[in-house]
Symmetry: D2
Subunit: 368 residues, 4 copies
């Protein structure tokens, strides 16, 4: 069934396979009047691009985005924005084992079980390349949120056992290091750790976080459309994510209530919290504080060691994966986390405009 659409008012529909002709997204429900150029989107796509570094795949994919509809004279018109990235680097090749064997840790077997067959080229739809559409759409969401005073920033929290020291938090590091860590010294250690894993024909996992500031209190809809529930869905839908936490996350299960409750206090005319164990969300509704989401990412399943598996005929066999694969997924997934978070928060804010009679009638009174 249709699973490639996300959002209610700000609704995106992604399409495309790893080695198909192109990938893209249709962004529907974008408010009219937003200045938008391909450059706005390209900046985000470039952050997920494989590239020159040792830890990202050496593939060259220019991933140039084309706006096919939905803008006029440099502004969004309120109609669907169709964005496309042509695939340029895929070459005709022998997919050999991938076509007939199920790669451990990948979705090959599940796709065959579900659909009867699969586009095995580069993983088809289950490839990380699928996130091109998410990021292109997310770039627009981020721009809108920026105009609303909301900032969304993701970064790598840890790679394997190497964790960023948050007291060294440096936003420049996020965009300039190969690991997207916010701590230059942790980045260095992580790179050494990755080099060793690569030498061992192995891969490693990691953890990433996203901070959202500027969201007013009151965003999110009980009881199933809670802001944290939708963030959990958005983030868990990113390939390789196996755990999602809000605020103190899993640690709460070992805490006392007296240590976990955030006391309220007054600051000027505002209500603030002394601590933020809650991660900016209480009862599924934003409380005005920084929203913190954490995602745990499994090690890249494509490793260069022989692995036991089964082929399409159901016979036991061994597979040796070839090709170019990142030894860690996190650094390139950081921008995906940022985009999925932005899409979720924006949609909740658009939906929240009609929560109160007074604001609703005021809004329409201005129109008359």
């Amino acid at each position: 069934m249709a699973g490639s659409t996300f959002g209610t008012i700000f609704k995106i529909t992604t399409w495309g396979e790893s080695h198909g002709k192109a990938l893209g997204v249709v962004v529907d429900g974008c408010p009219a009047g937003l200045p938008l150029t391909e450059e706005d989107i390209q900046r985000y796509l470039d952050r997920r691009k494989p590239g020159a570094s040792d830890i990202a795949t050496p593939r060259r994919e220019d991933d140039l985005v084309e706006i096919l509809s939905g803008t006029f004279e440099g502004h969004t018109t309120g109609t669907p924005i169709s964005l496309m990235v042509r695939n340029t680097s895929q070459i005709s090749r022998d997919y050999g084992e991938i076509a007939s064997c199920y790669r451990p840790g990948h979705a090959d077997y599940c796709y065959d079980a579900k659909y009867g067959f699969r586009d095995y080229r580069g993983g088809g739809r289950s490839s990380g390349r699928e996130t091109v559409g998410r990021v292109a759409a997310g770039a627009i969401a981020c721009k809108i949120l920026g105009q609303m005073g909301v900032s969304v920033r993701a970064y790598t929290r840890s790679i394997g056992p190497i964790e960023a020291d948050m007291s060294h938090f440096d936003e420049n590091a996020v965009l300039s290091t190969k690991t997207a860590m916010p701590d230059f010294s942790a980045d260095e250690k992580a790179l050494a750790y990755l080099a060793q894993a690569k030498a061992d024909s192995d891969s490693v996992g990691g953890c990433m976080e996203c901070l959202v500031t500027g969201v007013p209190a009151g965003v999110g809809d009980p009881v199933f459309e809670k802001l944290d529930a939708n963030l959990a869905k958005a983030v868990m839908s990113i390939g390789a994510v196996k755990a999602v936490e809000i605020g103190d996350g899993a640690a709460v299960s070992e805490k006392y209530g007296s240590a976990n409750n955030d006391a309220f206090y007054r600051e000027g005319k505002s209500v603030r919290k002394k601590t933020n164990h809650a991660g900016g969300i209480l009862g599924g509704i934003s409380d005005g504080d920084t929203i913190l989401i954490r995602a745990h990412v499994k090690p890249t399943p494509s490793i260069f060691r022989p692995q036991q598996t089964v082929n399409r005929s159901g016979e036991d066999t061994e597979i040796r994966i070839k090709g170019r694969h990142d030894p860690v997924i996190v650094p390139r997934a950081v921008v995906v986390l940022e985009c999925m978070t932005a899409l979720t928060v924006l949609d909740a804010m658009l939906l929240g405009m009609s929560a109160r009679m007074d604001r609703l009638t005021e809004f329409y009174r201005r129109r008359q």
Copy 2:
């Protein structure tokens, strides 16, 4: 905006506040022909009922469910099933501080920020009592899944630092212990730990897990309606849950790929995995193995110590919560986890019936 509906084909809509006249749920899209009585549902509601134990609130709520529509001669008719539980134990009382102050760790402030005011009686819609509707609906989902060969079982994994020893797993313990732990000896330790917390006017967090067996490979829809993404949403939407994990969960971020990949092998005509780090889901689609979901629950925010907060007029103040509150949420939330999991899995299975042309045409050929 409307946030009280969950599911696409098997769709539930819950309603009701903690101290309102009643709570309930409308279950729409239930297949026709399922034998269904109030007793089928009552059994599940009884598991979330506060009760006689020391760790659950001493309130008496009979929570008797009434089927108002959707069945005829003991079977579901395919039309909406309306289920209602009357509130009987709420007594007119002085809500004093709760009405005017924001309880730390609760959603009071967020509801006021969102809606302009709130039903403060017992927490209104943000109360844990809201889950009555989820459990009533989940009981039906569980019954349907049972007829399809799918079993869903949740239990308490840990309370504070006290963890169940899974090598002692005993299903009887889940339904008979006060903690809903699957391990009688851990239950004993946990009760002692809770008694101490209660004596300290404090509360504690915990962790719960859910196992789903019998789901065939191929359930779940990439890329946004992945089975794990929808489970994450379903579970994170349960009040007090702050983290959701699938399979090895957060631990994957410190693992090597060689240790995290699950090797495939053949067993009879089936494809199996030697390990189940993935928790039964790869690429968002079930792989035929046991599905494992883990949820971390924060300590009960209602504690009997004075806490600093702000009142509705925006003044700093101190609040002392009175009343009857569980020192830990987990034992009563276990059945909610079970129900939200069942609702998610069932909906995905119903949606999955049209994934393949061959099965689709076969299905309709039988109808002609």
Copy 3:
């Protein structure tokens, strides 16, 4: 599959069968802060009530509505509003032929084909009594629209060949005549016509219209969520409606463009149309003019003549319907048309709040 939910932001879910325990609706997404009492809703329910007149069934159904949730201190809280009407007049009786035969013009056969069996008591879910929930929810939508300056008014346009003379339009007639016609003299003729049909053991069809004023230009979302498209769905979903028209409707197919186009002109600071052939909607978006919807309703299928049919065993047979049935559906359906129209227009207006960046940023700037 679930078909009993309508709307996106203002979302209603109806439930209940003709002769079940109760019928009702859950209204989710209602803005907080609306004054609401049972009386507000009862007034609308009373308009669809069968009653004392010759042309409505002599059944007594008090149809007293109960608000079970979603209000506090006389105002909506933003949480789901559960409304219930207990069935009081259904008596245990012999359903004989209805249980085993398919009534011509009714959905009996279709329900059996779809669900395998059916609740045959009074038509079950396919009864016109299902509209209790629609009307209860619509009453709330009408009240909100009223506060936004939008008025929704439906009436009977014709019964059989007897048409109201619109130059005699009298709103009082709508609420006081037995036919809900806006023309006292047409009402008189229609009653005579109905008396004759009843004497002939026959039933008749009719036509109803709804006028919506006060909707600003700009409501409705191309290309599938057009305002007229959603109105068409809303109105066609009313039992017995077989045709829906907007503005000049079916007559446009015989018109010239020069006669059908509505010229624009300026009036003060506003843009107006000299005529309103379009019925207030162009390109699926409101144009600021009165919205006109027309619905054609088939004759009551329950007639007191013997009719040829088939029984559940698939044998040819003859059925003689007994009981109390209105000889025409329209007068009691008028309020249903009004309510479905209101629900559709309100939802479109709530969805429309985020159509423009300037309004969106202004809205949230006021919140900071």
Copy 4:
């Protein structure tokens, strides 16, 4: 808000403006394993193509479709199918009056009111060219339905006062006449009528019908997702349609019940109806008979006479529309009606697979 997505399981999202770079559609939820080539889709697009005839615009638009994703080795894979048609014939030109004036009968004013500005080139998103995406998606729906034994056929019923004689029904005429009428002699008369209208710088309306055969009884979901309700929405969402009828449609309002009820009888093991006034749908559920939908289409609003209007500055003015415009919309809209009908029926059939426990458990038993 997002309005460009249609369908629940078989879900399409269209995009593109009349004179933008391209138009297209993403088809999500298509069952895997359907043989599909660009030729399958092109055949349908060619039917809506403007062309060589006197009554269609002389513009040349090759409208060549490209499949960008979702197929592999000639078959659908179950992942989103992205279809694109590049715009080739749009030339840079002076849009003069269209940019600044509101064309009567068009959506120009409404778009400005809603979005603050508009892409005025060729009508932008409100152009009939928007249906390219609908037809491309509908072609796939038709192919799937064909494999399920369901046939969908639309044709022109009348143009102005010239009506096809259904006793002369000839399917070849539909595809070969310029009017898409099923009656060669009516086609001839209609062409003469159109020539006269054109000579008068005027345009005319018309009526089209669609017949669906092979749908088993039991398709459609009460009470809001009724098959006729969704057909009404689908068809009313086609630009210029102002009325939708099912079966006898508007005529029912003047009929007696004894003449409108369709008697059931037995034929072999099947239940049949002696007549089909209902148009194949009772209570919103298919009854196994031919489904008949009728749509009334307004005259082309672009006429070559001076018309009074208002410009963007709100001043009264006169507009003279230039360019190439069909004097009647119907012949090219017939395939759009066919496609929207197919999309609606297919989605309802896919949703209907889980209506009964017996069929559901049988389906999954086969999977184990």
